[in-house]
Symmetry: C2
Subunit: 158 residues, 2 copies
DNA sequence: GAAAAACCGACTATGTCGCTCGGATTTAGT
DNA sequence: ACTAAATCCGAGCGACATAGTCGGTTTTTC
């Protein structure tokens, strides 16, 4: 799961789209103006979102985009996976699982990254567009706080 | 909290260092050979780790690096924060907190990213080098699984 | 004095990001 | 039928981070 501003822009745009969903589709120029993102860049992002089946387009004047599913059925993880390049191959995946398993001393951190990836994906998969719109993040906040306190000394984390 | 291969390399090297800690310090050429990372690149990473106070150096032949603290007192989050550039400024931080707070429609996703950042940091801060060495990630695994199942339909996540 | 190591700084190749530009296609309104 | 609004599409570009390389210097042990 890659995390870049690209994914962030896509989520911002999708939240905007969900927020302004009416009978008429929402045009990218409206989103561009509201979110201060370049129109051409948005076009590129929405091309990917459309190919991923997250939005549907309506061409011609008065056209624009609509969510393919309801805002409570569209998960943030899907948006990010749709726009970001597939995750840069780690040394592990280059060597294949076999290479990682056979020589464990070279890849002691494998489990750690896998765990972190699962963690991030689980978090983003648990949040829908509707959650973001309605700011329903309290439960996640509580969970994160609990985790942070699991081991005491929160050493100088800058 | 930025996540790149740079941080991964640093953690790999630090785990290797912790694993091979003896009376004598560990030389970077040994780590470079074992982990298949370029020596010069390792030097750059360890310069930062030293400045961050995570390792101590011994110069001259037979020299090398030692952990500044014990492996159970060195957290993965510290390593990553030491080597990665400060996180790329988001639009939010550019505008300052005020800009984000005053016009909320532009920044509906602010809480989401903040939450995610907390989440990642909390996870990496809960793991020490010793945990990685001894593969003590079971508890984290359980937590991640619980989160993933919090909301039912794990939609096509590629 | 030789050699092993940490230190240091400059340079480079590659790739991604965020974006621009110039179009083409489709379609609603007149 | 014409115009304009919108999606679609591909090429290219400047800036930046990554993952190095290279060539040295300093320190210290033998």
């Amino acid at each position: 799961m890659k995390l870049s501003t690209k994914g962030r822009y896509a989520v911002m745009a999708m939240v905007d789209l969900a927020r302004h969903a009416q009978a008429k589709p929402v045009s990218l120029s409206d989103i561009a103006a509201r979110q201060e993102i370049s129109l051409s860049y948005l076009e590129q992002l929405f091309a990917r979102l459309r190919r991923a089946g997250l939005v549907k387009s309506v061409r011609g004047p008065g056209g624009g985009y609509r969510l393919a599913r309801g805002s409570h059925e569209t998960r943030v993880s899907e948006i990010i996976l749709a726009v970001d390049e597939p995750i840069k191959a780690t040394r592990c995946t280059e060597m294949g699982v076999a290479g990682c398993r056979t020589d464990r001393s070279k890849c002691l951190t494998h489990d750690l990254w896998e765990e972190l990836g699962n963690h991030i994906h689980a978090f983003l998969n648990s949040v829908t567009l509707r959650d973001v719109l309605e700011r329903r993040l309290a439960t996640h906040l509580a969970e994160a706080a609990a985790l942070a306190n699991a081991r005491p000394p929160m050493v100088a984390a800058n």
